[in-house]
Amino acid sequence: MSTITPETLIPERPEAEADLAKPRTLRNSYTGRDHAFRAITFTGGIIVLVVMLLVGAFLASNGVQAINEVGLWKFLTTANWAPESNDFGIAAVLLGTVQIAAVALLVAMPLALGTSLFITEVAGGWLKKVLTSMVDLLAAVPSVVFGLWGAYMLQPNIVDFSKWISVWFGWIPLFQVDGVDPASPLRDTVPFTASTFIAGLVVAMMIVPIQTSIMTESFRRAPVGEREGAFALGATRWGMIRTVVLPFGKGGIIGGTMLGLGRALGETIAIYLIISPVFEIKFHILEKGANSIAAMIALKYSESNEFAMSALMAAGFSLFLMTMVVNFTASAIIAKSRSGADSEG
């Protein structure tokens, strides 16, 4: 037996066969079906991309005329919308869009989070099934129905709550409502109707389902092994949720919330049915009068000439960009999170 030294451990490598150590090119042989599959999926992907680019290009090319007329800066900072007198911009509607979406998100996020945790962690058996399908059903309700529900059912009932907030928290400028005398014994709720707040609530109801189904999906995938690990340490159910489910579902929570935000920004008809449109920069969310880009386009579309149409296209393009960024960020977060990337267990 020979002794082992570092030298003897290294095998001889003949110079003549040096090209054996070059990396090989790896090729798979595709069958006809492989090719067909690749072609179909590839075409599908390309079509989606092309349609998206076309929509963007269409809006941009049509809107550029109006923006050139007043300049980008004025377009972004003007609150009024009067294309006929060259006095128009998206400042008010953009702000309105963001405010409605913010109200919607603030209400919908906790609701969706609570609902998904209830579905995945608390409800069992038939209740779980019923709730899951109810959420899916809710997602399928057309937005015009939500709009009607909001205008004729929610609004008359929620205005008293709006008033209550403004009476008690009116000292915060956001909740201030002008033109109401809190001491008046009459039930004057008109100043509280058609507001950013109510539009936001309706949009919240519309985005809860999508947020809930994405969060539910990510919570459901939290590995059984980790759940049991927490319980075996004496965790309460809430303790287990905090240590295992929420960290695991973080991507789903953020992604689902942002996907809801994307929908909230673009929501049109429900907002259109509720608000009474105003073109001014305002921060009083409980007060009558609100606006959003999408609702404005729906509102002005029929009465617009060619130039006014171009102005609307430009507004539409800004909305397109905004929702695009939000949605891409959302899907990137969902895809990168552990719940998406690694579903073992």
Partner: protein, 304 residues
């Protein structure tokens, strides 16, 4: 407090199994409805405890997988559960710390006495039972979002125990040392626990269980997926815990059972029949001079 009321209502006391055919006395699906905001348990007794399983039967749906199994696990001793796959060892182990009831279709009968107190008694809390009877699973399950340090003391937070920095530091080092992992991770305590090798992750899980000072530690094939070095470390840990904690370990490895255990119980189930204990006793006797021929066949590797 309707939460409390509902919880105890679900806990029908386990009636002693009738001599003929034991029926599911406890609806485990009901037991699984642990209240969401049940307060965690902070004060529990400590020190090795005697665990006594009495007439344990278990079902998954209508299928009975254990039939009136009784076994005493002596305080501070290591008890090995051996037997072929599917004879109910894991089920038995999971009944010992109330994990069985997590399976929706599962039900059980019988009592599990921790120093005399039935852990399934309505007056007992699920969280308290699990705190005192820790469990290490076949597949390592550290919390991947947490660092090694946080993983080790995760049980403190879950049990609602407050500790200051010094106490935590001490507990982390002490637990990791007991699990024979300290030397390997002491320089990277704040890196994620998921970045460790499989064997290290399993030892981290052992450390995590030890950090809440359980009185009994259940281990379900803890080494079946481990490399030889980690397996040796885990066995060292078991040896060093002898006398301090009651250990129950399921293993498929006869040498391991012979090396680490004081007592041994041999489980067996005939085809499609509920499992039970064929023979139990001193490990040396079980391996050296088994009374039952099936035990002798199994420990000598002639089946299973």
């Amino acid at each position: 407090m309707n939460i409390k009321a509902r919880r105890s209502a679900a806990l029908v006391p386990a009636t002693p199994a009738p001599a003929t055919e034991a029926l599911p006395a406890v609806d485990a699906a009901g037991l699984g409805q642990l209240a969401v905001f049940d307060e965690p348990t902070t004060d529990v007794p400590s020190g090795a405890a005697r665990l006594r399983a009495e007439n344990i039967s278990a079902w998954f749906g209508d299928r009975k997988v254990l039939d009136r199994v009784s076994l005493t696990m002596e305080p501070g001793k290591v008890t090995a559960l051996i037997g072929p796959s599917g004879c109910g060892k894991s089920t038995f182990l999971r009944i010992l710390n109330r994990m069985h009831e997590m399976v929706p279709s599962a039900s059980l009968a019988g009592q599990v006495r921790l120093d005399g107190t039935d852990i399934y008694d309505p007056s007992q809390r699920v969280t308290a039972a699990r705190r005192q009877i820790g469990m290490v699973f076949q597949k390592a399950n550290p919390f991947p979002a947490m660092s090694i340090y946080e993983n080790t003391i995760a049980g403190l937070k879950l049990a609602g125990i407050k500790a200051d920095r010094v106490e935590k530091d001490f507990l982390v080092e002490d637990s990791l040392r007991k699990a024979s992992l300290w030397e390997e991770v002491k320089d990277r305590l704040h890196q994620p626990g998921g970045g460790l090798s499989g064997g290290q992750q399993q030892r981290l899980c052992i450390a995590r269980s030890l950090a809440v000072s359980p009185r009994v530690l259940l281990m379900d094939e803890p080494c079946s997926a481990l490399d030889p070095t980690s397996t040796r470390r885990v066995e060292e840990t078991i040896h060093s815990l002898r006398g301090q904690i009651t250990i129950v370990i399921v293993t498929h490895n006869m040498q391991q059972a012979a090396r680490v255990s004081d007592e041994c119980a041999f489980f067996l189930a005939a085809h499609n029949q509920p499992g039970g204990i064929v023979e139990h006793g001193d490990t040396e006797a079980m391996f050296g001079a088994p009374r039952d021929s099936r035990t002798s066949d199994y420990v000598n590797g002639r089946f299973g």
